[in-house]
Amino acid sequence: MGDLASAIGMAAEEATLVAELQTGSEQAFALLIAQYSQPVYSMIARSLRDPADAADVTQEVFVKVFRHIGSFHGDASLRTWIYRIALHEVSNQRRWWSRHKKQELTLDAQQENEEGDCFCLGDTLASNAESPLECAEHGEAKEQVAAALRTIPEAFRSVVILREIEGFGYEEIAEMLNVHLGTVKSRLTRGRAALREALKKDAAAQPCGCSRVVEEVSR
């Protein structure tokens, strides 16, 4: 009963906020930015191939929220609606990246060969052996996983990020992506499997054997 009352209160509060947003209220948008800019930025930064673009994409998301808030009718929650826009922008940005920015290669960036194996350009140069300290720094489990995450197909990656990092439930992810619940579960299974495979390949490609996650779990 208490949960229901709380849910009704939150819905009423959100309805008030939405009404304010639809008038273009500066104060309401300041509140929205304070509430959502960090999690939206985080999701975008985890999803993009180049996290340096995350701030620009986040700005584009909030501009679209501002422009289209009039068409928000409360069919989904405000959070779901904002994330839906963010996911769409991420998808657009990744397509753009594939067409343009992929040309700008760096030695540290993850590349993919014809067989689909990931490698760094820096690894192809002479004297690429890392010191134990560098290996420890670069081999941080989180960095490895984050890097591997960027290599898996977009449809799987979005679901993995929303579920594992952002902590959304299946239903809300389905609403955000506008897909069925079964599709979310299926993509999550495929995404986790793809991530596992990416980390295995990463471990095999590391000459210094610093892929800690894979090592730890293979013992």
Partner: protein, 236 residues
Amino acid sequence: MSWSEKNSAVLQKCLEVREEFSPYLDGDMSGTAMQSMAAHLGGCKDCAVEFAAWREIQSTLGSMGPAKAPAGLQARLRAALAEERERGTHLAWDRRLAAMWHATLAPFAIHAATGTVAALLLIGGAGATIAWFGAPSEVQANDEPLGAMTAPHYLYSEVPPQPIEFGREAPVLIEAKVDDQGRVYDYTILSGPTDKSVQRAVEANLLSSVFQPATIFGLPVAGHVVMTYTGVSVKG
């Protein structure tokens, strides 16, 4: 069942179990299925290692936490939205057009309307002025005709006129100057006899004569009048 068949069945079971790793991680399966999964993992080292890898990845992802937004992101977003608000991009197209009208064309329209009204007033005023002052006005019955001037006009003599007699019969033409009171104050004999007796008779007649004075715009002024004395008798 042969060894290879048994091995194949185990591998098939492992594949089926691994397909369920994902829902097992989320606890998204029935209690019976979870028990079955736990039993298989307890007896299959390969699947247990693989599941441990999946769980480690999940744990690592969960511990990554949010990617920290750069400092000033919120200010940047507010500035971007302020710019959008200035452009009215959140408004419906009709309200946006109205806003654009008010922001851009309306001030010009006010100026244009003001200019048009001013021009109309100016042209209308000029027309009215021309019509008012340019067109000849109708003469009113009680108006004095513009530039009307009248000459002195003889009214009567205060005494009976004295006959003018001199030696021969001829008209005497006199120019008399009449003041604004209608009295003669000077005269000149233009033609005719100029005898003393004639002059005295003329003066006696003129001094007793009363004239309607000359007028300009209805006001009495000094003027002159030409008079002829005829029927002058001649003595002898």
